[in-house]
């Protein structure tokens, strides 16, 4: 086995992969949230942002393929880890109590990951694979004025919040970046990033539910 295969197939190597792909996925989320924030400015601004983004052409396609690859690598590696970790304790404890380390976020990483996966399938069907003869603003408005979709999108955001509430800190630890000097900074960034990403998306979902013709 080459040194590279040996590294990425080791237990620590899989965690480096999770951390790096998780970091890049998080970076995408930040850009995605910033772009979608134009929805808050109204139909014209949103459409002109979308038009300018898609007029970039090839770079957008490359970014899409990279993103898909990152996503698949992260999800597959995550599920492999989940399965292996399950195998590492074949008979569970009769009584099991948290000793103080575990959080809701950390305890549900695989489940929130699977929920995000399902959400992305729904999300892509709703928008990416939608009939693009209609304008994007109409597509978005048409989906998010439906309370059922609003609820599903809120559930997706809840899963995302839990996932990154643990994932953000965990990523640094997995890459060996844990030092008393940076505890405070990492802790603050974790909540600012988590709050701003989820905040923007949640505001859009709620806004489009209450003001149904906002994007019309």
């Amino acid at each position: 086995m080459s040194w590279f295969t040996q590294t990425v197939t080791s237990s620590l190597g899989k965690k480096y992969i999770m951390a790096l792909t998780g970091l890049l996925l998080g970076g995408f989320l930040l850009v995605h949230a910033a772009g979608n924030a134009t929805i808050l400015l109204g139909r014209t601004d949103f459409l002109s942002y979308a038009r300018r983004l898609h007029s970039l052409g090839l770079p957008v396609t490359i970014a899409e393929i990279t993103l898909l690859l990152l996503f698949c690598i992260h999800a597959v590696t995550g599920l492999v880890l989940f399965y292996r970790n399950h195998q590492a304790r074949p008979s569970p404890y009769a009584v099991s109590r948290r000793a103080g380390g575990r959080t809701w976020g950390s305890a549900t990483m695989a489940w929130t990951g699977i929920a995000i996966l399902c959400f992305i399938v729904l999300h892509l069907t709703n928008f990416y694979f939608a009939d693009h003869r209609r304008s994007l603003a109409d597509i978005v408005g048409g989906i998010l004025d439906n309370p059922l979709y609003s609820a599903l999108y809120c559930a997706g955001l809840l899963a995302l919040t839990l996932h990154i509430s643990h994932g953000f800190w965990s990523m640094f630890q997995s890459l060996g970046l844990n030092h008393p000097k940076y505890d405070g900074l990492i802790g603050t960034c974790r909540w600012i990033l988590c709050g701003s990403i989820v905040g923007v998306f949640l505001t859009i979902v709620i806004l489009l539910l209450i003001k149904r013709n906002y994007l019309a």
Binding site: W3, S11, K15, V95, A99, M109, S170, N178
Partner: protein, 256 residues
């Protein structure tokens, strides 16, 4: 003056051998001295079982002073019991209340097979140490005491890591049955000191590979290990292990 006593009901895991099905057994013990430790309570139970003509509970211990790391069990769902930074032998009945029911089960992990009742086979840790948890020293005359300068703060950190007794509670408490806190401590105690530097990369690669061979899970950074460790080993040692392995994987000249 007589010491206060309490009555405890224990639900304890009984398993006759490695490959047989185990189950819980319930026993009530009366008039126990509150200053008894958990292993001492198990001795009382065993006397009671012997008098009844039953087979006593097998459990491990050695020093009974919280030093050696031989004792260990999961008490009411927490490895080494609900008190912070204590081994099983430093957990006393005064930490429980009268008529309490306590559930006692062995550490559970695929890499730590149960031998009998509460006794588990922790030789997986020995094999990880054999893979690289040492420094090679030339024989001959002892070197001068102070020939290698060691910064005080590094000596302290190395000493903190070296406190790990290999008890295995970190594996027992980890939701993924990972051995990262143990291996992190063992890597750190050597990586921090000049004597450990020459074999640093080989050590990181070999020990992680040995750990993976034993079938431990991988770290989810949930910090349950740190919360139960009787020696207070910090997960910063796990971060150091992640760094050491990354560095060795990317930059080692030797192949292992």
């Amino acid at each position: 003056m007589t010491a206060p006593t309490i009555t405890i009901t224990i639900k304890i895991w009984r398993q006759a051998g490695p490959d047989v099905q185990g189950s819980f057994e319930e026993h009530t013990l009366r008039d126990l001295d509150v200053d008894m430790s958990l292993p001492e309570m198990l001795e009382v139970l065993n006397e009671q079982l012997t008098r009844q003509g039953k087979i006593p509970v097998a459990f491990d211990h050695d020093c009974l002073e919280g030093i050696c790391g031989m004792c260990g069990a999961v008490v009411d769902g927490v490895a080494q019991g609900p008190e912070e930074k204590t081994t099983l032998c430093q957990l006393y009945l005064r930490h429980f209340h009268d008529n309490q029911t306590i559930t006692i089960e062995p550490f559970r992990a695929r890499a730590f097979p149960i031998i009998k009742d509460l006794v588990i086979d922790r030789s997986a840790f020995d094999r990880i140490i054999q893979a690289g948890g040492f420094v090679s020293v030339n024989t001959g005359a002892a070197p001068d005491g102070n020939v290698l300068p060691v910064a005080r703060h590094l000596a302290e950190q190395a000493m903190d890591a070296a406190a790990c007794s290999g008890c295995g509670a970190c594996v027992a408490a980890c939701p993924n049955a990972a051995a990262m806190l143990f291996v992190g401590a063992k890597i750190s105690q050597l990586a921090l000191l000049p004597q450990g530097r020459p074999e640093r990369e080989r050590r990181a690669l070999s020990m992680v590979r040995a750990m993976d061979r034993e079938g431990f899970g991988s770290c989810g950074n949930e910090r349950e290990c740190e919360a139960v460790c009787p020696k207070g080993i910090s997960i910063r040692n796990i971060a150091r292990l992640n760094r050491e392995f990354l560095r060795a994987s990317l930059a080692a000249d030797e192949t292992v």
